[in-house]
Amino acid sequence: MTYDAGHYDVVVVGAGHAGVEAGLAAAKMGAKTLMLTLNLDMIAFMPCNPSIGGPAKGIVVREIDALGGVMGKVIDKTHIQMRLLNTGKGPAVQALRAQADKPMYIKEMKNIVENEKNLTLRQGMVDRLVVEDGVCKGVVTETNAFYRAETVIITTGTFMRGKVLMGDLEYESGPNNQRPTIKLSENLEELGLEITRFKTGTPPRVNSHTIDYSKTEIQPGDETPRSFSYETTEYITDQIPCWLTYTNEFTHEIINENLSLSAMYSGMKRGTGPRYCPSIEDKIVRFNDKPRHQIFLEPEGRDTEEVYVQGLSTSLPESVQHGMVRSVEGLEHAEIMRAGYAIEYDAIVPTQLWPTLETKKIPGLFTAGQINGTSGYEEAAAQGIMAGINAAAKVLGKDPVILDRSQAYIGVLIDDLVTKGTNEPYRLLTSRAEYRLLLRHDNADFRMTELGYELGLITEERYAAFKEKYRLVEEEKKRLQKLIIKPTEEVNAFLETAGASKMKEAVKAYDLLKRPELSYDLLAPIIHADPSLPHDVTEQVGIQIKYEGYIKKANDQVARMLKMEEKKIPEDIDYDAISGIATEAKEKLKKVRPLSVGQASRISGVNPADISILVVYMEQGNIARLAN
């Protein structure tokens, strides 16, 4: 018998990277929110690499921050080093990456969650959903607590029927020997959700005292202090380096000799693993001509000696892992503290979701994070905040929030998932975004803050600061439009020392800035820059001017795309009634149930003729409706 444990607007199952953002967003929007999780000491635990950000992912963290999420703020406070990547490339692909202090990250995150009013945090294992008349109405835990809920968000990560694999050892488990979630997973299947099986893996950790760092190369953080969050004002200065070493022919020999012992290579049928994080076994087999592979040694925190051996993800037996690790230069005497392993788990086929992350099958039920077939903390957090927003919006009677592909990487991620699905754990890459010149790391606040504010996730204070930045950028751009620079000797002498070609005729400062070799900072004296303008303002001005042509081209494409997005497909459309659409396209459309003609056109297997016919059919429906 269950007991009545309370009634909530939003119940979040799981307090991983998706769960915390979901719970916080829902609570801040004013929904009475409960967050249930297996272990309160493991909130936003990182089961794999101790780092956050990187190309595309780092931009997502900023988007989350500009929407009012917490990932950026927490990592700003708890990193051991931070770097800006791709500084030699264009502004569209630059991104931050931070090495995290894992225990600190958990502590900080727990603190934030505990202190959010409207949000109740509780330890517990959810066993099943309560579904009444096809609608999700709450959850029941293993202690028979029944929480009635208007909406439920499941964010259970890799726990679903999780199975750890190491050599021929296998046992049911969540990541890092936490309890697996068996019953809830079975329950979802019973409720008719389509489940797929994925896998991923993690490398061994070794004790820092047993590493000979003198044989490795140092990888320090950047000296310039930076932050993910637009609100961060205090910077960490005492950074800790990472270290670089390499595998060698001995490592490869050990692996080759023991290949048949690897859980992944022993011939058993397994879930699909991601191509972008192959195990070391994979790398040796698929790229056997490579004499060596990079190994990064990454400290897991300030107050721990554990070091993550990036590059050696494996499911070889523990006995083989010792020798493999010790074959690497600098690790000759390394002591493994935790062995590497692979984990196999259930995920939901994400085309079963609306772009709001609500399941089509069970209204009121949302899912976010690795359970939706993604991989990565940032991908999880991104879905978490969107699911939190939409679950709360549903309860509060507000409009759903769907980001389009030109607005945010978050939009790209969710659109890909719900429109195309995925046949391996999905990771964001810059190449997945077609408008990446618009989706920059530097302008995430310009893209998201307004929305975050409207939703009540951004404070008045922060909003005012953003508005001020916006104003300064626009004013400075205007000023540069009006400022004429004459080709005086002085100016040309300046340009020459800067290694730029001379000017022949007078130009607007605005146009001078378009020259690729001339940056705002460099030109500051000539364009009479106001030294009191903050750096992020002048950076923004510089980028907007320099890439204006490309940005405009991208905006034109976006305008065309949005026209297709505006053509909404009625939810009750009956694809079977449309005779002209090809059978394959029909099946796909029935499964995905796209909300707009634009989304329909991105489904693989749906071609332009099918879209044409769909439009005609929809119009026929409209006319019929008008006639009635």
């Binding site: 490339k89 264009g90 502004p91 192959p278 790229f287 990079q294 890459l429 810059t430 190449s431």
Partner: protein, 458 residues
């Protein structure tokens, strides 16, 4: 609802039949008016027909004499502004008119799109919706099978190879972006990107030239006869026409200032263009300068440049040589029956390796040699009709042109020193455009390429 203007050839294509290029959409009238010489179509009443000419905006040449029907919304088939351009010059002319219309910003209609618009605008009633959908399906399937048949295996193989090249380049740039810390992936440089872009560019330009070849075979080699007054240009034209069977004679009603003759010289189809503009070339050179006349002359596939043996080499002649530098031309030294006043050494020097033929048109001397020279230029030169990959579909040509433009943008970006990830936007666009030609646009292949080409992981 729809805001763009579509166009297509709306009658069954067949040599000799009257063919119609139809436009529908808000810009149908203005686009036609831009290239129409005759009444101002913007002012004419709805549902009226007008005689005039379609002018190629690039060459300013007359492309076709036409009858244009203007029908204003909403009393039209699609309930949009509709223009129908009636061409009587057969397939060649109608294709040319279509290309000109496309170059003015109309979009090639999808199969069944006119009917679809008619329906969407309520012109066709509800009961017929089913029929409209069937029509789109049928037309698409038919267009697809026709396109497949038209597409030469060599062409699709070539385009696949170009795409693979581009894909590898793009994947390389992507890997540098997404995995900046990997040192076993060499950093793609501007030079590497430039080399790749240039290679592909060269092939795309060649494909377009081949496309033009297809056009040439249908339309004839546009041949201009130029030279100072009185050197014998009209005589040359008459000789060529009389000696050879004219394929098409002057269309009745053509105004006197333009004469076009189609002749077949030893199997080479020539379209002799003798316009007033070109006839008075020296005037053009005087008036608009060498560079601009060059632009005009560039549109010809072959230039016959006539000099007078009986006159000294003038400044105008020297200028003409300048204007045609690098183009395909043959020098004809005429009136050899008269006394030599021409500085032959200088002529040989200016003509460099181009063919020079000596004639006396009154005595009918040197005509054989001239015809031989023309045939040689055509068959031996780069205008080779033998083993060519044949691109003819208007849609393909449009896509190739866009691909060429995208590559030019990429190369410009490289010259300016823009970051590779920005330049790469245009390279990716090229890859997509080429994909559209062969009907393959799956963007997932980039991710596949990424992980098969490089060893990445944790």
């Amino acid at each position: 609802m729809e805001t763009d203007t579509i166009t297509a050839i709306s009658t069954p294509i067949g040599e000799g039949a009257i063919a119609i290029v139809r436009l529908s959409g808000p810009k149908a009238i203005s686009i036609t008016a831009n290239v129409f010489k005759g009444k101002n179509l913007g002012d004419v009443a709805s549902h009226t027909i007008h005689y005039g000419k379609i002018i190629d905006p690039e060459t300013k040449e007359v492309a076709e004499e036409v009858m244009v029907s203007v029908m204003r919304a909403p009393k039209t088939f699609t309930r949009e502004d509709v223009v129908e351009i009636n061409c009587h010059g057969g397939m060649v002319a109608v294709n040319r008119v279509l290309e000109i219309i496309l170059s003015q910003g109309a979009r090639l209609a999808e199969p069944g799109e006119f009917t679809k618009r008619a329906f969407l605008h309520g012109r066709i009633d509800l009961s017929q919706a089913e029929a409209v959908m069937d029509l789109i399906r049928a037309k698409t399937d038919k267009a697809m099978s026709v396109a497949l048949k038209q597409m030469d295996g060599r062409l699709s193989a070539l385009i696949r190879r170009l795409r693979q090249d581009l894909l590898e380049t793009v994947a390389h740039v992507e890997v540098n972006i997404d995995y900046p810390e990997y040192d076993d992936v060499e950093e793609m440089s501007h030079d590497m990107m430039r080399t790749k872009s240039k290679e592909v560019y060269k092939e795309v330009v060649e494909l377009l030239q081949v496309a033009k070849q297809g056009k040439i075979l249908r339309e004839g080699l546009a041949t201009a006869i130029i030279g100072r007054p009185n050197v014998g240009k009209s005589s040359l034209m008459n000789t060529l026409v009389q000696e050879n069977k004219a394929i098409v004679t002057e269309v009745p009603g053509t105004t006197r200032d333009i004469i076009e003759e189609y002749v077949s010289v030893r199997g080479v189809p020539l379209r002799l263009v003798d316009t007033a503009g070109i006839r008075e070339t020296e005037d053009i050179v005087e008036k608009i300068g060498v560079e601009r006349s060059r632009q005009v002359l560039k549109e010809s596939d072959l230039i016959l440049f006539v000099l007078n043996y009986n006159d000294v080499l003038s400044e105008e002649d020297e200028k003409l040589f300048k204007a045609i530098e690098g183009l395909d031309y043959i020098v004809i030294i005429n009136k050899t029956d008269l006394e030599q006043k021409l500085d032959l050494d200088r002529v040989y020097e200016l003509a460099a390796e181009k063919p020079i033929v000596i004639t006396s048109l009154v005595k009918e001397e040197g005509v054989n040699e001239l015809e031989e020279a023309i045939a040689k230029t055509f068959f031996a030169g780069d205008i080779d009709t033998g083993d060519l990959t044949y691109v003819s579909n208007v849609r393909h040509i449009q896509l190739l042109k866009q691909a060429k433009q995208a590559l030019e943008d990429a190369m410009e970006g490289l010259e300016l020193g823009l970051p590779l990830d920005v330049v790469q936007i245009d390279v990716t666009r090229t890859w997509e455009l080429l994909g559209e030609i062969i009907g393959d646009t799956a963007s997932d292949s980039l991710i596949d390429q990424l992980f098969s080409q490089f060893c990445l992981g944790k």
